[in-house]
Amino acid sequence: MSQWGSVSSLVKDVQTRKRTAKELVQQSLKTIKVNEDYKAIIATTEERALKRADEIDRQIAQGEDAGRLAGVPFIAKDNFLAFGADTTAASNILKGFDTPYQATAIERLEAEGAICVAKANLDAFAHGSSTENSDFFATHNPHDKTRVPGGSSGGSAAAVVLDMAPFALGTDTGGSIRLPAAFCGAVGYKPTYGLVSRYGVIAMASSTDVIGPLTRSVEDAALVLDVMAGKDEFDSTTIERGKEGYTDLAGNLKGKKIGLIKEYFDGLDEDVKKVIDAATIKLKKAGAEVVEVSMPSLPLALAVYYIICPAEVSSNLSRYDGQRFGFSAKDVKDIDESYKKSRSQGFGSEAKRRIMIGAYVLSSGYYDAYYKRAQTVRTKLINEFKEAFSNVDFLLGPTAPSTAFKIGQNTDDPLKMYLTDIMTVAVNLVGVPAISVPAGEISGLPVGLQLIAPQKKDRELLEMADKTEELLK
């Protein structure tokens, strides 16, 4: 049982002076300390967080409006630029980076009174599915310390499940919010591409990167999304927020048509299948219509992703050159040697691997065969999703093909590690919203159920997920 309750109840307690923002921040910092050995956190922002808590308590004492998230502590994945601690993206090359400005997402949460208390661990630059690629240390799964929390937002997911804060922020490029949410037993929300500004978040693959919350309930995820969503003049890829906002979850399941994604059930692990089947039966009983939907190109999504993602990574990581910020190699004779030595010593294996694959698929002679071809198969995927959504309101499947695996199990085989994302990447390539909600357990390890909606149907998806969550409790 969580020590926090819902985010809205916490805000009410702070606004009615039943509890102070300072107490909440201290409670959060204490829980982080007690659970240190899970290694979910890279650094706390203690001093600044306590100062902000005092400011919010003062506002409330003076009868001012302290905002819709007044006094609520949260944890940001360490690829968000935030004041109060270094921003490292869990990489050696950015160690010690002291940000001159904050991410729009952080600014919007702070404007409503939320307080960032810590920065969470991740696979360096968000490259990974287990948080083992962090250049600093691996994070442990809250349910079994010998297992991974999933990734790349593994620190954020573990932190929420360990009760370190009422919510956390993550980024999802190919599944990096939903997968750790599934492995740890949290709710993980991936919004429509462009709904939340990425200004001030360290870029991985810009055509699929999104920002979203990891929470203990769908209701909390909806509230956090509502505060962050909408156009930002600093991110030209942002879209208008929905007129209704994202917190009205009053509808019900009756008459909703849900498509089970055939390709995600073919050859699925029997135990995972049992958990998802049980959930489906409950949805039917609650009045939803469930049909099978086939999208024949889905099995190609991972191959498409592992061309597009490294291509964009190689471009986005070219800025780490040792000249303007980040690690800079000493004892070099000219700028070319400075570039090479800074990058070679600063980047970890996974970053180097992806940069080189990206350089390969973008190089002249291979561009058409790899990059352009991948972007064309992407169109095929988009068309198949459109076709599916002309028949159903939502799509349903597991979030991951298995439960959390052992630490070290896949580290020597990058391709096997990439396959962990097989059920999450298509959503990113197509730009639609998706959510992972806890659906049950296998031998004490959580299983996530994934729900997917058409672009910009974020409110409807959250409403549906809220009802599903209730049924699965």
Partner: protein, 97 residues
């Protein structure tokens, strides 16, 4: 597409401004070859006359007025992470030999 050669890997490293140890060259040669073999499956896909998609929400040429704004950030803030600076400028090593 067969397995990458040692020279292929060194060329990629050169393009990416990376220096690799002999051990890294061998390791990446195997791993990158395996990943490229996996993505090879796309070559067989029927794409007919489909166009590639680079942007999924249909936005096009988003522009803004070119005007000066005060972001309350000082040159000192912006230069605090620079490895070497002098007179508010970034200092780099020799460019031409």
């Amino acid at each position: 597409m067969g397995k990458l050669t040692r020279e292929d890997v060194l060329k990629l490293a050169r393009l990416a401004k990376l220096e690799l140890t002999d051990g890294e060259v061998e390791k990446f040669r195997g791993e990158i070859s395996e990943i490229l073999a996996y993505v090879e499956q796309l070559q067989k896909v029927e794409v007919d006359d489909l166009e590639p998609t680079y942007q999924v929400t249909g936005l096009k040429n988003v522009t803004r007025e070119d005007e000066v704004k005060d972001y309350k950030t000082t040159p000192k803030d912006l230069l605090k992470n620079v490895p070497a600076a002098q007179d508010n400028q970034i200092k780099v090593k020799r460019v031409l030999a």
